[in-house]
């Protein structure tokens, strides 16, 4: 039975700078949770507390209900995959995978059988005799994964394991990590700053910012129903329109009355953030009497779609338009943007808390 993991009120401060300000999250057996956030948000600190490489100032880490907060890292039975360069350079791929089993004093025959199996699992059955420096970055991370899995850990921890790899390998390997994780049913915590990565392979995603968890949910919930302005900004691309409630079912945005279903029942004059995904925004040529009329300012080619920016009043609206249609919307053209009233979400914008500016890594 796969282990459950619980982080309770974890706090950690480095030289008076709070890195974690009370983290609470729990994982069911076999669950895959991603800690997602920009650099410095505390996600790696949280993972290191679970691994035991660091101690919290307060709070607890529970595995299967047992408090392991003060247990030494080598007694926690957790497999860990690091960002890079974690393979022992003096050992071959096989010896690296075998290392944990030797520590556990397994018999030689059982060891070599298990090593062979694991290297096959990660697709490196042929490379067992190679030293780390003879392997590509992607292969090294596969070996590192096999090594972490060899000890049959109760929990698998991955600390941005793909961030040093190139894009194609990254996508391929993340799918494999998920496949292997599902196959083995091992409880997993995955740290990443790449939202696409987190959304594509996780059961649950916890978005972190400033040492706190902003929201935990399934990838679909995080994308479709962001609970805070930060999550809205961080997950996917989002139009954020600062507006005030005009009347029932409409907001006032840059002096224009825009229909938004979610505005119903709100107090007139309340400041809100209207969130609209670019894929629901329609752009049509000419000014056909719609309220969000403006001018195309840029095109960004994304393949089948093109991201079109439209200047509306003082603001800007981003729309994803099928590339085949984009010729009718050249830069500089007058256009009208619109979105279905039901597709926009509203978040309160409190006066004392300006929307956070996010510095997102590539």
């Amino acid at each position: 039975m796969a282990a459950t993991v619980e982080l309770q009120e974890l706090r950690r401060t480095f030289n008076d700078v709070p890195a974690l300000q009370g983290i609470n999250v729990s994982l069911g057996g076999g669950e895959f949770l991603s800690l997602l956030g920009p650099s410095g948000c505390g996600k790696t600190t949280a993972l290191r507390l679970v691994a035991g490489f660091d101690q919290p100032d307060s709070g607890r880490v529970l595995v299967d209900g047992k408090d392991i907060t003060r247990t030494r890292p080598n007694r926690r039975d957790m497999g860990m995959v690091f960002q890079a360069y974690s393979l022992f350079p003096n050992m071959t791929a096989e010896q690296n995978v075998e290392f944990g089993l030797r520590i556990r004093k397994q018999a030689r025959a059982a060891r070599s059988k298990r090593v062979k199996e694991l290297l096959e699992t990660v697709g490196l059955g042929h490379a067992g005799k190679k030293y780390p420096h003879q392997l590509s970055g992607g292969m090294q991370q596969r070996v590192a994964l096999a090594r972490a899995l060899a000890i049959e850990p109760r929990v698998l921890l991955l600390d941005e394991p793909l961030s040093a790899l190139d894009a194609k390998v990254r996508v391929q390997l993340r799918e494999e990590i998920r496949r292997i994780q599902t196959q083995l049913g091992i409880t997993t915590i995955y740290v990443t700053h790449d939202q696409e990565e987190a959304l594509s392979i996780s059961d649950h995603v916890a978005v972190m910012y400033g040492g706190k968890i902003e929201q935990v949910g399934t990838p679909a919930e995080m994308y479709g129903a962001p609970a805070t302005p930060f999550v809205a900004e961080f997950i996917g691309t989002m139009n954020r329109l600062e507006a005030t409630i005009a009347d029932d079912g409409a907001v006032d945005y840059a002096g224009r009355r825009v229909l938004v279903d979610a505005a119903r029942g709100r107090a007139t004059g309340e400041r809100v953030l209207v969130l609209v995904r670019p894929e629901v925004v329609e752009v049509s040529p000419g000014e056909n009497g719609g309220v969000l009329a403006g001018e195309v300012v840029s095109h960004t080619f994304l393949g089948s779609e093109t991201r079109v920016k439209v200047a509306v009043g003082d603001g800007e609206l981003t729309a994803d338009v099928p590339t085949v249609r984009v010729d009718s919307l050249p830069v500089g053209a007058r256009v009208t943007a619109s979105f279905p009233p039901a597709s926009a979400r509203l978040l309160e914008l409190s006066a004392d808390e300006p929307p956070k500016q996010v510095d997102v890594e590539a």
């Binding site: 360069y85 350079p89 972490a148």
Partner: protein
């Protein structure tokens, strides 16, 4: 495959450099071949005189022993220390680096007088009255060489990640040090050991001031008393040092060591 060739200007420098090192050696060699009695060429008598001198073997063995002891003590002391500093106290690195420079600054006479004073105070007589006492001084002398060699070795590997990877797989501190860290800094430790060997095999000042009879003091004695055998002895000691260094290289060069450095250095 492209043929490699050396540009004529490089060749000139190569010949000049070779001459600079080889001419004294060749001259010494020719000088050592002169007959001890007649001073005429060519005889191996000078070599015979040295090899049959019981002092030769005795002092050589003593110096070698002192060198090996110095290397052993230095490595046992400094490998865990430098490891710990890199892992837990990176801010101490500049402090230790400046400490490591002290043996260069303190004159040997101050060192030997100081050490004799210290050890006379509390150590048993058998210690400071035997040549083993020199090891205490030599460990101090070797400190910079061992420290900077190890420091470079530790900088070339990702000490943190390797340590944490090892621990997460269940290894204790001792296992981590023995199976993961040391094999990956072996080349660095080896170069520190080679330098130490060379220093101890040639250290004259302290041995002479502390009135012990080591190989360098023996060379000096022969130099003052016997002209041709002195040349022979110089060449012999030159050869011995080279063989010893080669020996350490061969012993230390198991597969993995050199590769580890390359992989770690990326």
């Amino acid at each position: 495959m492209r043929r490699r060739f050396i540009a004529p200007s490089s060749l000139v420098w190569l010949v000049l450099a070779a001459a600079y090192f080889l001419i004294p050696l060749v001259a010494t060699f020719l000088f050592s071949l002169k007959d001890v009695q007649t001073g005429k060429c060519c005889s191996l008598g000078a070599y015979g005189t040295i090899i049959h001198d019981p002092q030769f073997g005795k002092t050589l063995w003593l110096s070698l022993k002192l060198a090996l002891e110095t290397i052993a003590i230095s490595l046992v002391l400094f490998v865990p220390t430098v490891y710990w500093v890199h892992l837990k106290l990176p801010r101490m690195r500049p402090v230790i680096a400046s400490l490591a420079l002290l043996p260069f600054v303190v004159p040997p006479i101050v060192l030997v007088v100081g050490l004799l004073d210290v050890y006379r105070g509390w150590s048993p007589h058998w210690f400071y009255s035997t040549p083993q006492f020199l090891v205490a001084a030599y460990v101090v002398l070797a400190f910079p060489y061992i420290y900077f060699a190890l420091d470079a070795g530790f900088r070339a590997i990702d000490v943190h990640t390797l340590t944490e990877a090892s621990q997460s797989l269940g290894a204790s501190w001792r296992t981590t040090l023995g199976r993961v860290i040391i094999p990956n800094i072996r080349t660095a430790a080896l170069s520190g050991a080679l330098l130490t060997l060379a220093i101890v095999m040639g250290e004259f000042t302290i041995a002479s001031l502390a009135a012990f009879h080591t190989f360098p003091t023996y060379i000096q004695y022969i130099n003052q008393t016997k002209a041709y055998p002195a040349a022979a002895l110089t060449l012999i000691s030159f050869g011995i040092t080279w063989v010893a260094m080669l020996g350490i290289l061969v012993v230390g060069r198991r597969p993995g060591g050199a590769m580890a450095m390359r992989a770690g250095g990326r």
